[in-house]
Symmetry: C2
Subunit: 132 residues, 2 copies
DNA sequence: CTGGATCCGACCGGATACTG
DNA sequence: CAGTATCCGGTCGGATCCAG
């Protein structure tokens, strides 16, 4: 036990350490667009086209969808397939690693939706007790 | 089935909808400092002081620790206890809801650390295939 | 010790226009 | 259709100083 910071051990990576690359990865994984795009691909079950994903993730801009998909692909979480057709057709799907992650992120998502009401109530309570 | 967007059903809240409050909540839950502070409190097991948390979460500024704890408290995820002493002593601990969430976020954290190596390899592979 | 207040640079991210 | 390029306002977040 030579670790000075906390966190689940089991490997050399520790996001509680400022310099550890896992911190940046964790930051990316928690990003809203990352979570929603992965969730959308997970729900779809089949390879999705750029436009199809943008329809599932309401309000995402082409810029953010592009950059998010690029990072996901670069990190090995999403597989990109492009076909030589006109008009061009490109599809995205989760890699095995991406599917694994999707299951976990889905839990976070489920927590958010199932506890939203409680959170709303907690805010009211907090605001009432701290109002100016 | 009147939903037009995707996502796990089960409630009226849907983060895939741009206007749904659960989207903002989800964004907050995935925030790096949120994840690490919750994880630190979870690891500690006992109520932690402001300074103790800052030591566990390497590199967090007092500004971010303060604002993160405030939001967590306001959302009912963290319980704050202050004692009338000099010097002042304040402790923070996870609420039952917070502990529930912590277990899930810990999984995300574990995914990040356990797959960091694979992700690093995927990046090398991607960069090699896309270098200018 | 536990913060609040302020300054300010960095960058996130939307809107828009354009291309193969 | 599937992006790329650019502009630019808003916000995030670190550093610093101050207070109860």
């Amino acid at each position: 036990m030579t670790e000075t910071t906390s966190g689940a051990a089991g490997g050399p990576f520790n996001p509680y350490s400022r310099a550890c690359p896992s911190r940046r990865l964790l930051k990316f994984l928690g990003d809203l667009w990352t979570v929603l795009v992965i969730g959308a691909l997970y729900d779809a079950g089949t390879p999705q086209r750029f436009t199809e994903i943008s329809l599932r993730v309401d309000g995402i801009s082409t810029k953010m969808l592009t950059s998010t998909l690029r990072r996901l692909e670069r990190n090995g979480l999403v597989l990109r397939q492009q076909y030589a057709e006109t008009p061009p057709r490109v599809t995205y799907e989760l890699s095995p690693a991406g599917q694994d992650l999707a299951g976990i992120l889905r839990e976070v998502e489920a927590w958010a939706t199932s506890h939203m009401q409680d959170v709303l109530a907690a805010r009211d309570s907090y605001d009432a007790a701290h109002e100016a």
